[in-house]
Symmetry: C5
Subunit: 353 residues, 5 copies
């Protein structure tokens, strides 16, 4: 996960629609409309935004999902057809928003971050989900095609749970619940990674172990940025006076709020653990330096004196009677062995061995 680049948006009029994210293909993107109440359900692709208007106005719940904010002309069309504020459209297109809740009166605007773990690249991907909640409709704008909303679509089709009996605010809640469920999955992946790094730390810390810890800390920094403001977003929804959010949904929002707090708590717990792991790593390096130093000192302390002794008897003094002794060599050897063993025992005593 990396911060997004804002291209060349600077200096433009507020509300100008210029995309700031990665302009990868929006080729297989589509717009799908669900219209349902307790008794019926319609599911159909949208080719012309104007076609949505009768559904959006009708009393039944209409959920329009836009697969990619990059679909040309779509945002502008929604703006015109449903009379959306240009600042909101700009925020939908600027996919570097932080999670937020904004009440525009006739409609409410939410921004969430969908997190996923890309098992191929082995990193977390992030995608902005913008929701516009009206009296009879909910529009969800995704950054890229692909989502994890299929279970909800099934529940709508098969009328599982209360989804078909509720208003669009419950549909919005259901989407947010799925997004937050995804957070738990991503957290679990991170938890697994942390555990594996901990195992490496305990057995054999290597040069790149800290880099792994750094990578994880970095991912948590970005995770936190995505999750933390969501607490306030959901709390704002709960406290909201807007008639668009019904009392019956509040209990569900309370549950969701609780889930998000748990995610945020876990992120902080992981941060604390990583910081503690890093300390362990750094001390393991120091300990290893110590170990290496001990070997070096041991060798030097034993062999420097011994070599000095051989040096003495290698001197070419003419008058050097000891060299002529009968057991000179043997005595010297005995002395050297004694010295070597003595040093060794001394280091043993000092607990260096």
């Amino acid at each position: 996960m990396r911060p997004k680049k804002r291209a060349h948006k600077s200096g433009m009029s507020p509300g100008s629609l210029v995309y700031v994210g990665d302009k990868t293909a929006a080729s297989d993107a589509r717009i799908m409309l669900f219209d349902f109440d307790e008794h019926h359900v319609v599911e159909k692709p949208v080719h012309n935004i104007v076609d949505c208007l009768p559904f959006a106005n009708a009393k039944s719940v209409t959920w329009i999902n836009v697969d990619s904010v990059l679909l040309p002309g779509v945002l502008e069309a929604f703006g015109k057809v449903l009379n959306f504020h240009p600042l909101m459209l700009e925020d939908i297109l600027h996919t570097d928003q932080r999670p937020k809740y904004e009440d525009y009166g006739d409609y409410i605007f939410f921004v969430l971050k969908m997190l996923d773990f890309d098992t191929i690249k082995n990193e977390i991907t992030i995608e902005q989900l913008s929701l516009v909640l009206g009296e009879n409709y909910l529009i969800s704008f995704q950054e890229r095609p692909g989502d994890s909303f299929e279970p909800l679509r099934e529940r709508i089709r098969k009328s599982v749970g209360r989804i078909r009996k509720s208003r669009p605010d419950y549909t919005a809640y259901a989407l947010m619940d799925l997004v937050v469920d995804g957070y738990f999955d991503v957290l679990e992946k991170i938890g697994d990674k942390i555990e594996s790094v901990e195992a490496i730390l305990a057995s054999n810390p290597k040069t790149d172990t800290l880099r792994m810890i750094h990578e994880l800390r970095r991912e948590l920094i970005f995770l936190r940025k995505s999750v933390w403001p969501l607490r306030e977003v959901i709390a704002s929804m709960q406290r909201s006076e807007s008639p668009l959010i019904h009392e019956s949904t509040e209990l569900f929002l309370r549950d969701l709020h609780d889930h998000v707090i748990r995610v945020a708590d876990s992120i902080d717990t992981y941060r604390d653990m990583l910081s503690s792991m890093q300390d362990v790593y750094l001390s393991s390096i120091s300990n290893r330096t110590n170990d290496i130093m001990k070997v070096l000192t041991l060798f030097s302390s034993i062999f420097l004196p011994l070599t000095f002794i051989t040096g003495i008897f290698g001197m070419n003094f003419h008058n050097f009677p000891e060299l002529e002794w009968r057991y000179g060599l043997q005595i010297t050897f005995a002395l050297m062995v004694l010295l070597g063993v003595g040093m060794y025992l001394y280091f043993r005593l000092k607990k260096w061995l």
Copy 2:
């Protein structure tokens, strides 16, 4: 203590009952019912949840303890018989909740974490305790069989203190008080561990001392997560407008609140102490590196020059008149002793010895 894994809950309808914890056997789990007032006490096992209904409705206090949330069908049965909200049932089953307080109107839902010290594995165990407090009943859902509530059961049987004269909110308080008493026991165990690590630090810090500090910090991180939100839970109970919590219990809740704050304070104190101990450990490594370096430098500084001198007189120059001196050897020796002693004194002076 490790964070729990959430299995494959992602994407399900809110309120679906899927257990997320360890599926160890719930084989010896039971459901026990106490029904009592000032004048009578009934204690009997429950085999069919429906049998609880008359007790739960009757004016006398009914405490139903469920030993394991995994007992098949039990949660669903309670949900049906007492008309509980599915989100609450989900939270009872998801044993990775944080401590919380939720008022559902007819009943109040609490989540606590029971901590225990497993002396065999030498680690803290954690178990979720979910309480549902109604007008005439209290239901406690444990994660696993086994608890520390026996003293309370005895007090009910023998009518010790005010338990038999009070309403179910006091029973709930009494359970929470026992749970918090358990926190003090666990804290004491951790305190003992910290003291023993401190003793090691003061005498002979070893390579794995930091790992022990890390383990303790890790345990405190999880402890904190269990205890910290409980402050707010009990404060919410005290402030509660619900008729289910009587004024006479508030004084006891205030006392409990105070106990939890003391636990939380101690956790923070231990964290500070561990962080300071870690600094001491790291500096002890550096000091030891210094000590080793001093020995190495001492040996090198004394023997490198001496060996150099022997090397000089080991050279094979033909014209080397000093080698023929009468006391060349003795003079050289004197010189070497002087040099060695000089170096030694120099290091003494520098306070390196």
Copy 3:
């Protein structure tokens, strides 16, 4: 970016006008006046401040931009002509203000910091922008000539967007929006620098890498000081009861507030990343020390014993029968090779190689 020096302002009467910044030339500075409403637009340089008065009083929106607060006599003239409070004039001249919002009743005073990235000096430049918002006018005081408001001037001239249809508070918002757009640009530059330092860290950290990290942390410290209080400034505007700020502008201020929070968040994210990068750098030094130590220990441990052996056979004892052995040299060599290889294998085993 460096903190400004306050020259010798100490002890003066509150409201005395003495400039505290860099007194570089204000030679090409000018005062430009825009007067516009939906139907007309006038753009003309101002040579005498009194000429502004009829415009400032007229119902149409008047935007007067002063290129440099150092223009002699200009501040005093505005003070007299428009009856400004001396403390405000002092604050305009003291360009070391923090961003602030002050309501003086008839007019509102804002201070902002304009940031720019000087690609030649490769550092962030900072310039104070003071805004005075009256009922029918907006005056902007810059510290130095040069700004990034040209896009707004074009929008006024060509009547793009709602600028010509709005009151001076929207003009103030539009200026602030451009200033905040500039923050994103500066942040992007910093983000690029951080990424390049991260790349160096990953490949080949050098002695001055930490100095680069330190430089970046230093820049973020100053950035934060410029941006953080702006949150409160804009929030104060939103909450303001002043009739000078119209309800129609509030939605735009909310958007601006959100942008500033995003900038502030990013600054904090970068701080966290830099702090983590610094840890990686410090551990990379320790790792390198370890690597060097290993080489040293390896050489010492292999050659010290070998040299000792050669020393033995270099001793001049007369009675040294081994020297006369037929294969003495070869045996010794074999022994030395064995020892050398043994040491090497031992280090391999210890994972030091």
Copy 4:
């Protein structure tokens, strides 16, 4: 100062009276009663708690000081005679309370921590002081005999200041003022210790300097725990609606509050200073390692090459004409001196000497 052990209190009924502190002898403990108003003063030992009742009820101020909470039966007797709540009695006995303020309606309960510096053991001692303030009485429960209240007793006896003219709340304030005065004394002792450690740091940091810093940090951690909550206790007294605390005392409480904040500020200042001192210590170790390394490197870099040269001329090649040169030895010596001086100058240049 160490955290207290809670013996085996777990699982007991709330309000059970079991002491959790050190059960050292309460043998010379006594209960003393003062009864006074503007016109009279009575001072007498209490042998039977019931004897206190008439005094406690009478309009004159009654101060009963209990020297030790361990005096057998005393707490229970007070509970019965003055009808105290069991939870309060439990808190008086559990001397591991944090400072707190609890209003029980007819009486108010305070807990404070008395700090003293034990000059023999060279450590801070801590003692719980529990105060029960009624309409006409004040009871002070100490943990151990011995206190610093003698000046107050003298003031009562001799009617110094306003003590004899005031109600029991002023007596309580006077006790608390003496306790807080004790904090300043303890802080001064700690300040002296910190200064002496700073002096050691500046001259000659030793291996156990960090342990001294650690000890001081540890003491501050416990000090902070005793002092910090007292701010809130005194603020609660000031804000209190209770008729037991008269308006005339509020000015004195404000002064006391201010004193406690100063103590708390000083504790934080000392913490900051100790943390900075620790950094200085750690860097002094690193600097010393550097110094030792320099000496080692200097000796090795000078003598390794020189010894190599002597080795060359110690080789026994038959064809080694240089050995036969007339001034071979002298030339070699000159070379070695040049090399040695060269290395020395090189290190000088590198600023290593």
Copy 5:
């Protein structure tokens, strides 16, 4: 700057007047009275406090400046003549107060800290300034003779600005403004010191560089303690309901508040910078250790093998045919040069040189 010692104040009755600071001579201390309104100004020394009473009561503004709180009998005299509360007198004498604001009804009491930079001792000096603001008077109590209020005295004498037209609260503001101006001067001195330490860090960090950083951090800790609470003091003045503080002064207090926040911000900025500089310093030590190690390793790795080779040919084996080779010496030399150059190139390759 050091924390003050509280002598032996412990145990005294609240409000007892014992000085706790340094008892240096108050010999040249004086009491000066200004009495002025728009039309007249009187300036005269006070020898008897009672002489102040008519001035203090008269409608004109009376500013009495006491040069030293140590002037014998002065505080008590003011207490009696103007009926001041003993706790306030005690606080004036105890010059270790933190900045505070206390409303005593008829008069308001402020404490501020005057900071100055003693260029001779090269350290910050601190002096308590206590202000008592009545309806028609302002009394300023200094700790020592000497202040920076001369500019204000001149403004009073010459009727510059609004001082002569305002009430005593403006005089109090004017004094506080001068005190805060002094903070900027002190900050600038600290900023200069930080810059010079940064320059040392960038070029040639020495052993005592960290001590300089530590000294600066220490000074900032004390600065912060003096400045931080002043924010709240001035905010309390602004919010004050007291008739002694007129609405016309509020604008000036807002400006002052803003100045203090800027000082506080700068202190925090400097703290952050120092903490970052310390990291740079510590890493520079590690880098130097690395550099030294490299030289050591280089010499050892080159000369240990070479010396070993000379050792081989220095062995005295009788059967050592290579010694008799014609070009044995030359071949050996070639080998040694090759080895030396090889090692050197190897280290080059490893980027160690």
